[in-house]
Subunit: 140 residues, 2 copies
DNA sequence: GCAAAGTACTTAATTTGTTAACTAATTAAT
DNA sequence: ATTAATTAGTTAACAAATTAAGTACTTTGC
């Protein structure tokens, strides 16, 4: 059997590391960690989500999310509500303050994104995005 | 400006998470963590490397690598040597014991890999690999 | 309708990652 | 030549990830 020159998971890790370098300086400025920003980003797109969904979409395990949420709540960035239908479920949404911060940072992120696309090329970017979506769908 | 449905870095993270699910059960058996296995895997491919190169290729920061190396050395899995030309550099290589372990685990990894390729398709796999290599090369 | 199983978090303990400061060795600059 | 700057690696302090166990609520099965 032919030996692969490199493992896919390692390639995914390295390429993510490269891609992150476009955004790290911006995150550094905001003071948010990568994980914290993922939470803000995903919550901004989905207005309201329960903690489990949010954890899945952010690739953050529940215990880590609990910590981030607790901190954000105490800082007035996130609003935590119990679902009426199911008292186990925590519904989460961004506060106006957090939405405001997102609006301020977002253009810088978009700009870095544009730089990245500029370097890789629009077409390759879309190709890559499609393939990654397929890989993500491989497991339930 | 058109809003992207999802960020590349998050897609890379999620797809890696999916891909990892094929290998996690095997790693669990061995008792190695993801990072530890990356060190063993990369060192097995490159016979001898200095710590900096190894850290870069494994996407592990030096302090974390120091810890892993120290532990592996005390367990007799890794051999640490000073470079003759430059006394700052630590040259690392797998012990016979570690090579043996790699040989035992490797077939299982290959098998999981084959399953993954089977699900995604050989061609898409190669396409993806090429694109990821390009992304990795975007930053120095 | 009530015990048993399942779900959605949360808490606690351990390991790992991250940042910054530090030591030792080498290279560069005047 | 000797100080200054750079590089490789380590150490220390803190934040985050991971695993396992725990709590509260809901659904299922008899």
């Amino acid at each position: 059997m032919k030996k692969l020159e490199d493992s896919l998971t390692l390639q995914l890790l390295r390429s993510r590391e490269s891609a992150m370098q476009f955004f790290r300086p911006i995150l550094q400025e905001t003071g948010f960690t990568e994980q914290q920003w993922r939470v803000i980003r995903v919550l901004n797109d989905n207005k309201q989500m329960d903690a489990k969904q949010l954890a899945e979409r952010c690739c953050i395990l529940s215990p880590s999310l609990t910590r981030i949420i607790s901190r954000f709540e105490s800082e007035g960035l996130i609003i935590r509500n119990r679902s009426e239908h199911d008292q186990r479920i925590t519904l989460l949404s961004l506060s106006d303050k957090a939405s405001e911060i997102f609006k301020e940072v977002s253009p810088k992120i978009d700009q870095a994104y544009a730089t990245l696309i500029g370097k890789l090329g629009e077409e390759k970017m879309q190709q890559l995005s499609r393939l990654l979506t397929e890989v993500t769908k491989l497991t339930p």
